[in-house]
C-alpha cells in the first residue's frame, strides 16, 4: 500500500500547477460536499479557458459562496457542463446566465443522472452507455438512439476529467475518504473520473490506516492531494441558507 502522505500545506499549493484549458469538476450538491476552498484557490490562481463540470453554476442561493459563477465573472471559463444553466425557480436569475446568453461562455446541459453516470463511466472504463433519460426531448434531437427490448434509449459518452475538486469529512494521509451524510453526492464518482483528485478535508487528517477498510467511501487510490480546511474565517464552511426575498 502506498504509504506516503498526500497532505499538502495550502489550497494555493494544491492548485498551483493546474494549466489553462483543463477540465475540472467540482463536487457538491447545494452546500454539502462543495469544495469551496479549492474553488476560491482556483479563482486566485487564475487558470483560463477552463471547462468546468458541476451540478449547477451556483449563485441561486444566499449567502453567495465560491462557485462556477465567480470563475465565469473572473474570465476563467470557456465551457460549463452541468444540470442547471438556469435556476429551478425561473424567477431566480443565476449570475452565470448572462454570460451564457451572450455567448461569452459555452454550456452543455446534461440531466443530473446522466451527468453522474457519465462521470462514473469515465472512472470505470465504460466509454459509452444507453439511458432512457431525455429520450423524446430537445436534448435528444439529432442524437443516436437505440431500441432495446422495445424501448428507446439515448447513447451517452463517458466524461473524463483532468482534475476533480471534492470535499470530505474524514481522511487518512493516504486519501481514504469518508463523507458525512449528503456530503457524498457527486464526490466519489468525480474522484474516479479524474487524472488528479484534490480533496479538502473537514476533520484533522488521520494517520494511514485509521479508517476501517469496510468503512472507506472513496479508496485512497483515487485521491492525489489532500488539504486540511482551517477553521473560519480562514476556511470556508457550509452555512445556514438564508431564504432569498422574492
Amino acid at each position: 500500500m502506498g504509504q506516503k502522505s498526500k497532505l499538502v500545506g495550502s489550497f494555493r499549493e494544491a492548485v498551483a500547477d493546474i494549466p489553462d484549458g483543463s477540465t475540472i469538476a467540482f463536487g457538491g450538491f447545494a452546500m454539502p460536499g462543495t469544495p469551496f476552498n479549492l474553488i476560491k484557490a482556483l479563482w486566485e490562481q487564475g487558470a483560463k479557458r477552463l471547462t468546468l463540470v458541476a451540478n449547477t453554476t451556483g449563485g441561486a442561493q444566499q449567502p453567495r459562496m465560491p462557485d462556477i459563477g465567480m470563475l465565469v465573472e473572473n474570465g476563467q471559463v470557456a465551457k460549463v457542463i452541468c444540470a442547471f444553466t438556469a435556476a429551478t425557480r425561473p424567477t431566480d436569475v443565476l449570475p452565470f446566465t448572462k454570460y451564457y446568453e451572450s455567448g461569452e461562455v459555452d454550456a452543455e446541459l446534461v440531466p443530473q443522472g446522466t451527468l453522474a453516470e457519465r462521470l462514473r463511466s469515465a472512472g470505470a472504463g465504460i466509454p459509452a452507455f444507453y439511458t432512457p433519460t431525455a429520450v423524446g426531448t430537445e436534448l435528444a434531437a439529432g442524437r443516436e438512439t437505440r431500441l432495446i427490448d422495445g424501448r428507446e434509449y439515448l447513447l451517452e459518452y463517458a466524461l473524463k476529467l483532468d482534475y476533480a475538486f471534492i470535499r470530505a469529512r474524514t481522511s487518512d494521509t493516504l486519501g481514504n475518504l469518508r463523507f458525512h451524510r449528503s456530503q457524498r453526492n457527486f464526490n466519489p464518482v468525480m474522484a474516479t473520473a479524474a487524472r488528479c483528485t484534490i480533496a479538502e478535508i473537514d476533520e484533522p487528517v488521520l494517520p494511514a490506516g485509521s479508517i476501517d477498510p469496510d468503512d472507506v467511501h472513496t479508496p485512497g487510490i483515487y485521491v492525489h492531494r489532500l488539504v486540511q480546511v482551517p477553521p473560519e474565517p480562514e476556511g470556508i464552511w457550509p452555512t445556514r441558507r438564508q431564504e432569498k426575498r422574492r
Binding site: A30, P90, L109, Q112, T131, S182
Partner: protein
C-alpha cells in the same frame, strides 16, 4: 408554482391530496416546491421511504431551527432529518435507484401537462438552456409520475393542454395531475376529472382545460379538512 390568489385548493391541500395516493411500502421522490410539502401530510401508518437525488434514502421532516445538520439536505437544499433505517449513497448510485425503476412515485411541479401525458418543467419559452436537475431521469424512470401545478397561468390560460408548446421533460409518462381545481388523469384525448375541489364546477374547469374533459362516475369532492 404561482403565488397569485387563485380558486380552489391551496398549496398544502394539493400536496395533501397527492400524498394520500402513496401506498404502504412505496419509495417516493419529491421535487422542489409544492411536492416537498407532501411529506408534511399525515397518511396514517403507511410506511413511505423518501428518496432525494443527492443520495439520501429515508429522509424525514425539515430539521427544526438550530438543529440542522448543514451537511444534510434534500433535493431542494433544505436541511432535513433522517428516519430510522436511512442510508446514504453517492450520486451515481442514487440515480441507479431512479433509473433502475426502484422509485414507486415521483412528484414534480410543471409549467404544462398534455393530454397524452407529456409534461414540461425545465425550460421557458425562448430561454437559452434551462434547469433540468434530476427531472428528466425521474420522469423517464419512476413507476408513476405525479404532477402538481396551478390549473391556469397568471393570464388565465390552461396548463392542462392538448400538446405542450414548451420543451418537454418526458413524453407519455404522467399518470396523475393535481391542480388547485381538482385531480386529473391524462386520457390521450383530454383529461379525466377524478375529484373536484370545493367551490368549483365541472363547467368552470372544462372552460380552462385542454382536450376533452371527462368526469369520473360519482365524482367526489376533495376533502380539505
Amino acid at each position: 408554482m404561482s403565488e397569485s390568489k387563485s380558486k380552489g385548493l391551496n398549496r398544502q391541500q394539493m400536496a395533501d391530496r397527492v400524498a394520500r395516493e402513496f401506498q404502504d411500502g412505496w419509495i417516493v421522490n419529491l421535487g422542489v416546491g409544492i411536492p416537498t410539502m407532501c411529506s408534511n401530510t399525515d397518511i396514517g401508518d403507511r410506511d413511505i421511504t423518501y428518496h432525494s437525488e443527492n443520495g439520501v434514502i429515508g429522509y424525514g421532516p425539515v430539521a427544526p431551527a438550530g438543529q440542522e445538520d448543514l451537511n444534510l439536505v434534500n433535493a431542494g437544499g433544505q436541511n432535513v432529518t433522517l428516519n430510522p433505517g436511512a442510508a446514504m449513497v453517492h450520486h451515481a448510485d442514487s440515480f441507479g435507484v431512479i433509473r433502475g425503476g426502484h422509485i414507486d412515485a415521483t412528484v414534480m411541479g410543471a409549467y404544462q401537462v398534455s393530454m397524452t401525458g407529456d409534461f414540461a418543467n425545465w425550460k421557458l419559452k425562448g430561454q437559452k438552456g434551462g434547469g433540468i436537475g434530476g427531472a428528466m431521469d425521474l420522469a423517464a424512470c419512476a413507476k408513476r409520475v405525479f404532477i402538481i401545478l396551478e390549473h391556469v397561468t397568471r393570464d388565465g390560460s390552461p396548463r392542462l393542454v392538448e400538446a405542450c408548446d414548451l420543451p418537454v421533460t418526458a413524453r407519455g409518462v404522467v399518470t396523475l395531475v393535481m391542480t388547485n381545481y381538482g385531480l386529473f388523469e391524462p386520457t390521450g384525448t383530454g383529461f379525466r376529472l377524478r375529484e373536484i375541489a370545493p367551490g368549483l364546477t365541472v363547467e368552470e374547469i372544462r372552460a380552462v382545460t385542454g382536450g376533452t374533459l371527462t368526469v369520473a362516475d360519482g365524482l367526489r369532492q376533495i376533502p380539505t379538512a
